[in-house]
Symmetry: C2
Subunit: 563 residues, 2 copies
């Protein structure tokens, strides 16, 4: 096994900044005597610092000497910077793939040093890869491991990346703190990349279990920093987490959440492709102002006015009229909304669908129902390890979905609310509190965390929504809910240019400004409908997290645009 | 079979705008006599128009009467607007699924009426679904089809959407003009949605075969409109196509191109997911200015300055340092570049990859080689029908890829150029002309349309590129080429915060402005690299199209931001 060239085993010392002392602060109006006393104290302090520096230097020199003289020094140390110097046949193993069949084998693992406890001749390391952890035991044996090596390992800062060679073995007593129940007996350790010793917060603190009310507290502590919670354990505020996102994302639950997010996208596409959908990519830079008008990000496109797409809706509808018949897109959606809520962001990922329908928008609803069943069942079966890792930090009730999916009309929803003593005007939209209550009622009655509400009143929908043929107060529209919160909005669209223009005018829209949109239906238009799903909402509600930002890698809210 | 309610079979008449005549233009300084003559002419013209209108009215009334009196009128007509009135058990069949086993069966098809030729008692229709077409024959039989029905069908405007019931049959002589070799004998026809009679251009003209030089001519005719080509066939300019994109996209080749584009994304993901990559979604709204500085779209993010991401590079690198190890993203990329070339756009779709490497960037190059082989072989096997449909309009040489993929160092590339008599400074970047030439040489020598060029000179690469350990004039970077044109750029990145800051300063960058980026490597950094692939480039070069805009649904160039 050809190892990479190694530098002498010196770890970088953190710079020691000389402390100037509190001397400067006082003494301005002091008497001569006081002045003299101060000078004496300063001199004393200076000498102390000199002594300390000398001591440190001596310690370092001794340590270097010890390292240099170690006969087993080849077995540890810092790699030189990996610059593609070599191409060896070394095989690195994933922690997840280690099982009992490998007991006795020597393996090589590249992982983060999550933490180390070293005492004398023995040390215990926890190595982490994504959301898997394994214990590595290092013990002086004078064959491969010297006492100096054990000491050196204990000085490697947490979060450094290390290459560890070790023999897989079965510990006598079960290890509770790691995901892998086997351990490594270390032969060699090399540092691939050192972490700075001082982290913005400890991973242990960031990974600690948070029940729903603690998540709420974290959400509300938006301005704060690391603070002591009631049981004297440091808790990390959402602001600190997001300011140092690359560290926060290393926690096992976050690792798992974003693997789950990736999984949702795969399952979403997998199902739609099986139903003859085509993936499209529509422009995010739009001339003039997006379909809405309000809440748009504006910019200059060379010498023209432009804005960022609030949704791909117009373009996906145009694709239907271009004969693609069934299309989907996964892409960013921009909303310049000054909403400070736990479920809004200014940029999110839209899972958008549009399809032609033959005669009835239930074709679309039924397909969407099957799609969500496919996603939720897929998560359960293919992402059980991720779900388990998320549960460790964020305990939640498993997500329930009933098949066939529960579909209620808006009027039926109002009736259920009324039965529960809540008055809701059936011609007006629900507010979020009532939505949540209806979610509770539906869960109680149908044992499901997912349902569809359709036939919304006309007042709640934009002009391009197709009206119900049997009641012009209602529209062929729908919202889908997860745990009582909206994740999707959609409708059958009006594809008739004449009534579309009429309806736009009724809604006070200058028809001239949407001429292109109306024109796109003039050359033979398929009846069609679609919807947009907020990916981060699906993630955070599936895991019953409080804050949508936990479902987004680098969230954007009105106050945050970095990192 | 419960049919939908139908309206009386009246097609909408195009509005006849009364022509004012040329009268207004002359006569200002005319003599009385001339004035009188003019008035007489106007009166004559007015009467002529009246007569014509009366004739038209009479014709229309007769036609309505004829329709009303037709005893077979139930078998044709216009549907009322599809507003989800009904949910029947009718089954619509896709043209692609029609085969000889269905001969004799009555099927129902929803399609566009591409064109119709009606003469007396017989008519031939071409029905189109995406890139499939089928002929439908309608013939008076007095059992299901009346002469009036045949006449009515002949009046339905092209591009209208129709429901056709017909018996699948095998024609005596082979049909050359349609993709399906069977035909339908029509029983019933209904219009789902009428097209306006006047189209911006004829689909036939837009779908006509274009060799490479004709594509070049179309590209150069950017300002033009429909024009006659040398053989008296109307050709549609790229401007007219893009201005009326929804019509242009209906042509079979365009339908196939965007199915191929969708296929590339599926194959890309399929391979990467099999290699443990995670899909990510990084923000497109970036605080301050993106990594480059130049060519960025700027905007206001509430009260802060922001810009649109020129690439997800910083964020995907951060994901590596957040332990995701292998990530990919498919998303929009924004470049405010005033480039008027056949291969640049201001918004395109990036297929982005970033991964940790153990010791050598060839790990990444080898993986990318396998990825492209997977994509190109996948297109060949799974998208052969699409490729055939594209070939019909845009004939091209099949794309060649050699396995294992050809990898050349920059210096080797320069040597090949030199052998061909082309001087290239090995310490300077290639220009596009030389790239193209090198592509030809490589194709000649290795019989491949795809290859990798790596170890670019330092002058050609940004500060964050890792230098070669054996020669500081070169970097661990690479470009990939298709048919001699660049589709991908990438590198191993410098993951050492100290040398990264030093190199940035050497390149004249204010290190303070990229502090966050450098900081992200400070807490233990994986050696890593990646690349970004331009999706539209892969599409247009695979099909050897001249203009990249043919590989984009709704292209954005410095002059175009709509539709």
């Amino acid at each position: 096994m050809a190892d990479k060239v190694e530098t002498p085993v010196v770890e970088k010392q953190e710079e020691t900044v000389p402390v100037e002392g509190a001397a400067k602060e006082g003494g301005e109006n002091a008497s001569k005597k006081a002045q003299k006393k101060l000078e004496k104290e300063q001199e004393k302090e200076r000498k102390r610092l000199e002594r300390e520096a000398a001591q440190l230097k001596e310690q370092e020199e001794n340590w270097l000497k010890e390292l240099k003289e170690d006969t087993l020094k080849e077995n540890y140390g810092d790699y030189i910077l990996v610059q593609s110097q070599e191409k060896t046949d070394r095989k690195w193993i994933q922690v997840l793939s280690i099982d009992e069949s490998m007991v006795g084998q020597t393996v090589l693992i590249r992982a983060r040093l999550q933490n180390s406890r070293v005492k004398g001749n023995v040390g215990f390391l926890v190595l982490r890869q994504q959301f898997s952890t394994i214990q590595a035991m290092i013990s002086k044996n004078d064959v491969t491991v010297s006492k100096t090596m054990v000491k050196w390992v204990g000085k490697v800062p947490c979060e450094s990346i290390v290459d560890v060679y070790g023999v897989v073995s079965k510990p006598e007593t079960e290890i509770k703190s790691t995901s892998c129940k086997l351990e490594l007996i270390v032969n060699k350790v090399y540092v691939v990349s050192r972490s700075r010793a001082q982290l913005p917060f400890q991973l242990e603190d960031a990974a600690r279990q948070q029940k729903k009310e603690e998540q709420l507290a974290e959400y509300n502590n938006n301005e704060g920093d690391i603070e002591e919670s009631k049981d004297n354990q440091a808790s990390v505020s959402i602001k600190t987490r997001l300011d140092n996102r690359i560290i926060d994302l290393r926690t096992p639950a976050k690792q798992a959440i974003f693997r789950l997010q990736s999984g949702i996208c795969q399952l979403f596409r997998e199902y739609l492709l099986s139903q003859d959908f085509v993936e499209i990519h529509t422009p995010k830079l739009i001339g003039g102002s997006s379909e809405g008008g309000a809440n748009i990000f504006k910019l200059k496109y060379f010498d023209k006015d432009a804005c960022l797409a609030q949704s791909p809706q117009l373009y996906k509808q145009m694709c239907i009229q271009s004969d693609f018949e069934r299309v989907f897109e996964i892409g960013p959606v921009f909303r310049a909304e000054k909403s400070f809520t736990h479920r809004h962001m200014c940029e999110f990922t839209g899972l958008d669908i549009e399809m032609s329908i033959k005669e009835n928008y239930h074709e679309l609803l039924d397909l969407m129902g099957d799609l969500f069943v496919h996603i939720f069942k897929g998560l359960e079966t293919k992402y059980s390890k991720e779900i388990e890792a998320i549960q460790q930090q964020f305990p939640f009730e498993p997500f329930k979905i009933k098949t066939p999916v529960v579909k209620l009309t808006f009027e039926e929803g109002c009736k259920l609310l009324k039965e529960a003593g809540i008055e809701q005007n059936p011609l007006e939209d629900l507010d979020t509190v009532t939505e949540k209550k209806l979610g509770d009622i539906v869960r109680e009655k149908y044992d499901t965390d997912f349902y569809m509400l359709h036939r919304y009143p006309i007042s709640a929908r934009p002009f391009y929504t197709m009206l119900c043929h049997d009641d012009p107060n209602y529209t062929l529209s729908y919202d889908f809910f997860m745990r009582g919160q909206e994740i999707t909005s959609g409708a059958q669209r009006n594809h008739d240019p004449v009534s579309l223009a009429k309806r736009a005018a009724e809604c006070g829209i200058n028809v001239e400004t949407i001429k292109d949109y109306i024109e796109s239906m003039a050359f033979g238009a398929y009846p069609h409908g679609g919807c947009g799903i907020g990916l981060e909402r699906v993630v955070f509600l599936y895991c019953d997290l409080y804050d949508i930002r936990n479902g987004c890698l680098f969230p954007r809210d009105p106050k945050r645009i970095a990192p």
